[in-house]
Symmetry: C2
Subunit: 331 residues, 2 copies
Amino acid sequence: MKNRFSKFKNRNVLITGGLGFIGSNVAIRLADLGANVLIVDSLIPDYGGNLFNIRDIKDRAKVNISDIRDENGIKFLVKDQDIIFNLAGQVSHIDSMVNPFVDLEINCRSQLALLEACRKNNPQVKIIFAGSRQQYGKPEYLPVDENHLIRPVDVNGINKSSGEWYHILYNNVYGIKAASLRLTNSYGYRQMMKHNRQGFVYWFFRQAIDGEEIQIYGDGSQLRDFVFIDDIVDAFLLVAVSDKANGQVFNLGGQKPYSLLEFVEMLLKVCKKGSYSFVPFPSDKARIDIGNYYADYSKIKKMLGWEPKVSLQEGMKRTVSFYRKYKGFYW
Amino acid sequence: MKNRFSKFKNRNVLITGGLGFIGSNVAIRLADLGANVLIVDSLIPDYGGNLFNIRDIKDRAKVNISDIRDENGIKFLVKDQDIIFNLAGQVSHIDSMVNPFVDLEINCRSQLALLEACRKNNPQVKIIFAGSRQQYGKPEYLPVDENHLIRPVDVNGINKSSGEWYHILYNNVYGIKAASLRLTNSYGYRQMMKHNRQGFVYWFFRQAIDGEEIQIYGDGSQLRDFVFIDDIVDAFLLVAVSDKANGQVFNLGGQKPYSLLEFVEMLLKVCKKGSYSFVPFPSDKARIDIGNYYADYSKIKKMLGWEPKVSLQEGMKRTVSFYRKYKGFYW
C-alpha cells in the first residue's frame, strides 16, 4: 500500500468535513504523505469538527472554515483540486428526524451543488464520498452486500442515498471520477464525544473511560461490526488512487460481528472499569433501529485488496489510550 | 371494482398536479364517484397542467393554483383531506439534468414538506405517490420487479426515489398511510403535447396524428411496456382504498412488451397516416437512456387484483380519437 500511496505526494486534496472524525484522520495521513491538504469544515457545534484534531499538521494543512451549503464558496474551493474526500455531513439519525430539512440541505442538496461545481470548474477531479450502512435499513439477509436493496429507515438514510447516487451519476454521465464507501460502525481517535446523538459506539467508550454505567438498549444480543479508523483511512486512500473504483459503491465491514454485549464486555476489560445495565429501547430510537447488521466487504477486498487489519480489541486499546491522554479536548 | 370505489363518495380528496395528465384523469373519475375534489396545480408552463383537462368537472371540483414548493400553502391545503393523490412533479429527465436543483426542489424537497405538513396537520391521511420506472435505471434483468436495485441514470430518478422513500418512511414511522406506484410509459387522454422533453410516447402520437415523420432513435428494437390512462387511474384508486397497500411500492406494467418499431407501426396503422425513419441517438438522451424495460406487475396483481385491461391498440384508438377532437387545446 505504501507504494501506491506515494501518489499523494504534492497532490492537491480537498477534505470536506476535514476537522471531523474521519476527515481529520484522512487529513493527517495525507499531510504525512506529502499532499497539499485543504480542509473545509463548518465547525457547526455538535457535528464533530474540532481544531484540536489537526494540531499535529496545523502548519502543513490549510483550513477554510465554511459550510458546504455555501454554494459560491464551494465553487471556488473545488478548483484545482486533484482529489476531494467528501466527508462533510449531518450524521445523526435522530437529528435527521427532528430537523429533516437541515439533513436534506447538507446530505442531499449540498452534494449536488458540490458535483455541479466540479462539473463546471473541475471535471477532472476524483471524489470519494462517505456513504452509510444506514442506507440499507433493516437487513433482509446477513452479511449485507452491495446488492441488498436500499430501504432507509430514517431521513438521514434517504438523503445519504441521494448524495451517493448523485456522485455515481456524475461519474457515469459527466466523467467526473467518483466512488462511495458505505461505512458501518466506525471508531477510533478524534471522534466527537460531547453528546450521544451520533450513535452508540463512541458513547460507550466515553462512559467506560469515565467508569460509568453503560446502558445497553434491549438485551444486547444485536450483532454489529466495527471498523477502526486506521482501516477506514486506508480504504479512502485506496479508493482515491484506484481507477477501477470509479463509479463503484463499496461496503466496509469489520473482521467479524460482535453482539453489543460482547462489545461492551470487551471494552470494560480494556478500560478496567465501568459497568453495564440493560434498559428498554427509547421509542424515538426503536423506530429507526435496524436490528442486526454486519457487512459483506468481499467486493472491496476482491477489487482493491482492502480488508480490516486492526482487531476490535487492539482498536479499543488504541482508542482508549488516545482519549485518556487528550480527554480535555473531547469531553 | 365499482363497489370498492363507492368508498370515494363524499370523501375529501386532494390531487396535487391535478390539472396534468394523470392528475386530471384521476380528478374526473373521483368527481364522477361523488368525491369532494380539490385540485392543486402550479400551471408551470411546459409541465402539463391544462385547465381544459377538467372542463367536464369544472363545476364539481375546486381548483387552487399554487406550487407544491409553497410550503405554507401546502400546510393549509392538506388539512381535512382524507386522501391525497400526490401527482405533482417535474417529469422531464432531460430537464432534470439541465436544471437539477429545480428537480430537487419539486421532486424531493417538496415531498418532504408535504409529508411534514401531513404529520403536523393531518396524520390520518392516506397518500398515493407517483413513482417512476426511471428509478431502476438500466435493468439488470427483465421483467423488472420491485426487488430490482434502484440505480437511477438521471437526476430525476434520484429525486423521485427520495420522494418515494419519504412517503414510505412517514408511513412506517409516523403512521401516515402512504404507498407508491412506479409508473412505466403512460399514455392516453389529456397529456401535455407541446414539446418532446417528457418522453417519446405522446410525441409519437402527435407526429402520427399530424401525418409527420416519426424519428426513432437507434434501430427501434428497444422493448418497452405501455399502460393506458384508464388502467392507471384504476390503480391509483385501488391503492387509495386498500389498507394492505400502505407502506408498499408497486410496479405498474403493460400487457406485454413491444419494440419501439412495433409501437410506431401500430400507431401509424391506427392513424392511417405518418411515416418513420431511424436516426442516431442524440448524445444528451443516449447517456440517460435505460435500454430495454418492461415491468413485472405481479405484486399489485396478487395483492390488489390490478392488471392492465386496455390493449395497446385499443388505447391508441381512444387516444387518437380524443386528440383529433380536441387538438386545439393541446397542440
